[in-house]
């Protein structure tokens, strides 16, 4: 009997503990979502004045904010595509072929993963200013691709672990060319790894602050725009936009992770 109450107590304690941790993790997000529906119109926009969609309406008049969101999306999608293409090719190439300098490439890959982001940020800044590339959309895309590529490679590599190369040979023995084999045999087998890597590249890009901070020029991403206005007070249209982004990402991830897209494609 005593043992049972002890076990029960332990269970309640762990539920309370985990609950508190989740509250900690979600508190600012709950604040952002709730306050995006706040009818308040006076700074610092904190006291609750009732429920309204006003800030969502106002958001669509705030061109600079919408533009910063557009920039974020263009950068995330472009760098995701670039990193996925370069990374997938590299992961497969490094798996299939032995060559000199492979260990060196491997070593280089870990650098963007472990060094503090600020170091990569200032390093790219000095590079761009030295070779006179004006900072803006292009430099942002280059920078985001740079920190995403290793993660794509790790993801694809994990999938390659159980990859049987003899099916490629079989394909080529049956007369398919090297390129056809790559697209029709190699890619479909690696698809989950590539998809996971691409999704990670996309989220890393959306989450980045520090590296973008140094290479943006005047092309502000959404978080950089918020950073600029934090001292003077942030209006709840930022909360509205954050809420919409959160909903969008959730839908995107649920669709890609649950294999829903695959099911829909099969039905069509």
């Amino acid at each position: 009997m005593k043992k049972r109450t002890k076990r029960k107590l332990k269970k309640i304690l762990s539920i309370v503990f985990c609950g508190l941790v989740y509250v900690f993790l979600f508190a600012p997000i709950i604040y952002i979502v709730v306050n995006s529906f706040n009818a308040t119109t006076s700074k610092p926009y904190l006291s609750w004045k009732g429920f309204s969609f006003d800030w969502y309406v106002k958001l669509f008049d705030n061109d600079t904010l919408l533009q910063s969101f557009g920039n974020t999306m263009i950068i995330a999608i472009s760098s995701m595509i670039l990193a996925t293409v370069i990374g997938t090719l590299a992961a497969v190439g490094m798996y299939k072929f032995k060559f000199k300098g492979k260990a060196a490439i491997d070593g280089l890959l870990y650098i963007p993963v472990v060094i503090p982001e600020i170091v990569l940020g200032i390093a790219l800044l000095t590079l761009f200013s030295n070779i006179n590339i004006p900072r803006g959309m292009l430099t942002l895309i280059i920078a985001h691709t740079t920190f995403s590529v290793p993660f794509v490679i790790f993801n694809v590599r994990a999938r390659l672990g159980g990859y049987d190369m003899s099916i490629e040979e079989a394909s080529m023995d049956l007369g398919a060319g090297r390129i056809r084999t790559f697209f029709e045999i190699t890619l479909p087998v690696l698809a989950p790894g590539i998809g996971g890597g691409a999704l990670l590249a996309f989220t890393l890009s959306i989450d980045d602050v520090i590296i973008s901070y140094f290479v943006n020029g005047q092309t502000k991403t959404f978080p950089l725009k918020v950073y600029e206005s934090i001292r003077s007070g942030v209006a709840p249209d930022v909360n509205a936009l954050s809420t919409l982004i959160l909903i969008g990402t959730t839908i995107l991830v649920v669709l890609t992770q649950s294999g829903l897209i695959k099911k829909l494609l099969k039905k069509a």
Binding site: A27, P116, V226
Partner: protein, 288 residues
């Protein structure tokens, strides 16, 4: 024969690994080497980098104000890592050992906050913690306090923000390590008469130490550089090395000095990663 070898092996290898090699050389290796070179350069009267060898920047790193900030940065990073371990370990343990179907949901709930940009979430905390923020309003409404407490602009708040941003990086490797634990080992330990704490320290902890090491690396190193957390939540005494670097590359404009400061960060990273590898750490598990 050599032509055949070129077509069968060299050409495909080159076209597959070539792009990433060039990319890494141009956008990772070259800029970092340039930062190293620049850290030994001076500046002219227009704050442009002037290419003559000097150790001035490294001498300036020993400036008392800077040393003070390294100290604070170290305290912040150590405190953050320690707090993350203490909270994340039991937390990861509970969700990794959950037997119900809810397990994957509990895991996803750790990842979901990532989908909102970290700066936006830190701004959320700023709004919650300020004198007119929701936490103060709540505490005053229930008459627990009469005057609002100013949580912002303190070193503790910076640590709080760092823990918040980096907590998932501690949870994920711990979760992986704990999930791999073999149940039969724990049963064997219990059968042999070991009580809970003894099993924990002699069996569970050693088997999951790999997760603690990789989590610590992924929390400690970024902590030195996350200048925006210190900037938004903290005040005096809460700057990290990242704030020093950021200033040199923005308003201060002494790029070579900023480069020398970055070299400290690179050295700290190299030393920690070497220790991590010595302890048997796997580099791939740092990639989350």
């Amino acid at each position: 024969m050599t032509k055949h070898k070129f077509k069968a092996k060299t050409l495909p290898a080159l076209s597959m690994v070539g792009p990433v090699t060039i990319w890494l050389l141009v956008f990772v290796a070259a800029p970092l080497i340039y930062v190293l070179v620049m850290s030994f350069c001076g500046i002219d009267q227009f704050y442009n980098v002037s290419y003559h060898f000097t150790l001035t920047n490294y001498k300036r790193l020993l400036n008392a104000d800077y040393v003070n900030i390294y100290g604070h940065s170290l305290i912040i990073a150590l405190a953050t890592t320690l707090i993350c371990i203490l909270i994340a370990y039991p937390f990861a343990y509970i969700i990794a050992r959950t037997k119900s179907k809810k397990k994957s949901l509990l895991y996803m709930l750790v990842i979901i906050p990532f989908w909102t940009n970290s700066l936006i979430r830190i701004y959320g905390w700023r709004s919650l913690l300020g004198t007119s923020g929701w936490i103060n309003t709540f505490l005053m409404n229930i008459h627990l306090i009469d005057e609002p407490i100013d949580f912002l602009y303190k070193q503790g708040t910076t640590i709080f923000g760092m823990v918040y941003c980096l907590f998932p990086f501690m949870v994920l490797p711990l979760y992986t390590a704990i999930e791999k634990l073999d149940n039969s080992l724990l049963e064997a330990s219990a059968d042999l008469g070991a009580k809970g704490p003894k099993t924990f320290f002699n069996v569970i902890l050693p088997l999951t130490s790999g997760g603690i090491f990789s989590g610590s690396i992924m929390v400690f190193i970024p902590c030195l550089g996350y200048f925006f957390v210190a900037d938004i939540l903290g005040g005096g005494n809460s700057d990290v090395i990242g704030n020093l670097v950021e200033r040199q590359f923005q308003s201060g404009n002494n790029w070579p000095l900023g480069a020398a400061l970055s070299i400290i960060l690179i050295l700290v990273t190299l030393i920690l990663v070497k220790i991590y590898q010595k302890l048997g750490g796997d580099m791939d598990s740092l990639g989350v």
